[in-house]
Amino acid sequence: MRDVHTKRTFSSDFFAWALCGGVVGVDEVSVLIGGKAGDGINSAGALVARLFSRLGYRIYLYFDYPSLIKGGHNFAVVRATPRQVGAHRERVDFLLALDQETLRRHVAEVKPTTVVMGRSDRSQGAKVSVPVKEVLDRIGASDLMGNTCMVAAFARAAGVPWEILEEVIMAHITKETSLNIAVAREAYTGAIEVSPVPRAPGAAPPLPLLTGNEAIGLGLAASGLDLFIAYPMTPTSNLLHFLAEYATPLGLTVVHPENEIAVILMALGAAYAGKKAAVGTSGGGFCLMTEGFSLAGMAEIPVIVVMGQRAGPSTGLPTYSAQTELLFVLNAGHGEFPRLVVAPADVGEAYRWSALALQIAWDYQVPAVILVDKTLCEGSFSCGPDDLIQLPYVKPVSAGPKFPYLRYQNITDGVSPFIHPPNPLAVVKVNSYSHDEAGITSEDSGTATMMVEKRIRKGESLAEVVGSLPTVEVSGDPASRIGLICFGTMGGVCREVAEHLGIRCIRPVVLAPFPSAQVHAQIDGLTRVIAVEENATGQLAHLFAAHGIRVHHQIHRVDGRPFALEALIREVSGVIG
């Protein structure tokens, strides 16, 4: 595990760097921008990212901040590459410091060639000193525009044409735009080009940048979401904010109720009444939803839970990431019932699998979890047309309801036709008790057994459709007998590591129903399986073991920070020798 706080001198640092093999390609750029909470670091990072978008790069943006409103250290890392990646590098090419703390903390990210730029009045020791205060004073702008100033100086240093900078500011700074432009122009003209970044080879038109939260929201909307209901909780609060902001154009009802218990039960009420509803939360809120989740299982009412993991237990590190809720979501709720759990790795998958999960949940009347984490929810990725597609999915054919209507008709595939009130031909009874086909309570042994078996058959039907989908993502060298396994956002970094080391990477996107055959097809023949997880106990490894797959080594990270590419390369290399 890397500790960003370790102080290293440049020379020993360089030595370490050289040893690690210098995997930074010439065709990519990494930028870190840091400052205080309240300095607008996240927006500044996004501006930098959008400059690179316009130079034809694909973007991965990681944003790191503690749980507070003002003060404290925030930073964003932008990585611009010709092909989409999903991880940041250990060292950066540009370091933009809005304060001294940034320089102090990020010594380890600096390599000999790094262009270190600092705000002259608040940091010392940067190679390039940016006279932010002077620029702001000259233009008569407030200190809030310090980040614009810094980004403009960076743009010049990186050789980004003024037109691109201007376009980005015009498009993305909506408050006091012209003042920002003036600040930027002043800073840009005063700065010098240090290390120009070339256009990406074969540059395509610039792509939109989406966060994981946004991609999930759009995916759900694309599949016909009607209501989004949530109580704010990092890292999915921004999904609530995003959908509330776009509620009108997307045709959504967005509700923020009294607590998470109300959240999931409102969603179930809405689904009963025929609307498609999703909820968003994190582990603590999900705990409060588990009783409703079990009700969804028994009453056979679909619901989507967007479950953004963060480091726990309990309040933990609320703004940092984790992969600690896999086994919890697989087993949450009392009693047994089929569920769908998908764990996308990037915004493309987040969009596609959210869209598909909604359809499947409704077609099979099951609760579904979109299992994500802070890194994906609040990270940004470029998003191309290939990302935002519908996965091939064949909707099951239903015989249609029979009358008199039986809500829980004991049908072969287990999926009883669901009519929603008002329907003049049907009385629709759903029930949390063990019930008969009509939905009336029955504690009779035979009826209870019949209904358990119906739900089991429904789970088998669900498993069958899942089996027909591309549930397992594979990358790296197909000839290698060594494989990394991982899930969710670890996908990005593991794919690059596998490619770099010439090994394989196997990642199930669907975790329940577990795509056992597909996973086995990929794993069988490997001689060494290495699990990479952002948790301490190896939950994916446990799940694989329960499905008969031996995991030989486990690599964990538990501090809520994602692996940098080189750090994981070192760890995996250490294992495979």
Partner: protein, 286 residues
């Protein structure tokens, strides 16, 4: 729908003989029968129940129902109303259900003035779990979890709902079936959040028939006078000895606003064009 299906299902009724739940069921059935008589479509009615003796009404009435979980009638019902404001939603809840496990939701439903009707079957005891005290049990009540008698004072649910902004606040009693029917009927027609506290006899664990018989008093309906409402509501505190007013204690019509809860500009329908909206958002994100 001209042929009228029976309003009672085939489910075997398992309430104890003498249980006040029968009176509530009969009142609701009578109201539904009246609606059928007016050729109103009962498929617009949805009953949501919690868990407890009271909740079995969801099995017995042959109308749409969501037999939910202990304490959660209101969020379920709110979700139904949000999804389809045309539906006429009735929550049948227990006192343990609504005043202990799910009290938070009651206050928020009142705050929101969400358009539905709550009927609390307040037998002042947990019936189905065999006789523990509830939030409305009086001081000294000996239940199975409090064999030497509770010392906490009961809550006054009507005061809480009034303090939370409830726009229809009433009390009735299962020993007064005509009154019960009239009050429930008025509650169902109120546009907004309607709260009916029903003093319900539990024949097995808390038979207060004689106690209520001596004390209940049907009072004149009050509409918008909040002071009058407060004095009705505070006339009896669920603990000490006093006359117990029954009636509609408060009624206020807020301007109807289906979008009172949260951010809900409109409910997505055929007219929405999600693809264009997504395209526009993506364009903004470049």
């Amino acid at each position: 729908m001209t042929e009228q299906p029976s309003l009672i299902t085939d489910a075997q009724n398992t309430w104890c003989p003498g249980c006040g739940n029968f009176a509530i069921q009969h009142s609701l059935k009578a109201i539904l029968t009246d609606l059928q008589g007016e050729e109103r479509d009962l498929s617009n009615v949805v009953l949501v129940s919690g868990i407890g003796c009271h909740a079995k009404i969801a099995d017995y009435l042959n109308i749409n129902s969501f037999y939910s979980i202990h304490g959660r009638t209101l969020p379920v019902a709110t979700g139904i109303v949000l999804a389809n404001p045309q539906l006429n939603v009735i929550c049948c809840a227990g006192d343990g259900d609504m005043y202990a496990e799910g009290l938070d939701h009651l206050i928020f439903a009142a705050k929101r003035d969400i358009d539905l009707t709550v009927v609390v079957h307040d037998n002042r005891v947990y019936g189905l779990t065999t006789g523990q005290y509830t939030p409305t049990s009086p001081v000294g009540f000996r239940g199975r979890s409090t064999p030497s008698g509770i010392k906490e004072r009961p809550i006054n649910p009507l005061a809480l709902v009034l303090a939370s902004g409830g726009t229809f606040v009433a009390r009735s009693y299962t020993g007064r079936p005509a009154h019960l029917k009239r009050v429930l009927s008025a509650a169902l027609s109120h546009k907004g959040f309607s709260f009916v506290e029903v003093l319900q006899i539990c024949a097995t664990y808390n038979n207060l028939t004689a106690f209520y018989h001596e004390r209940v008093l049907e009072v004149q309906d009050n509409e918008e006078d909040l002071n009058a409402a407060w004095s009705y509501v505070n006339a009896w505190d669920y603990n000490t000895d006093a006359k117990i007013p029954l009636g509609i204690f408060f009624k206020e019509d807020l301007p109807p606003d289906p979008s009172r809860s949260g951010e809900k500009p409109y409910l997505g329908g055929a007219e929405r064009d999600v693809s264009s909206a997504i395209a526009a958002i993506l364009h903004d994100r470049v």
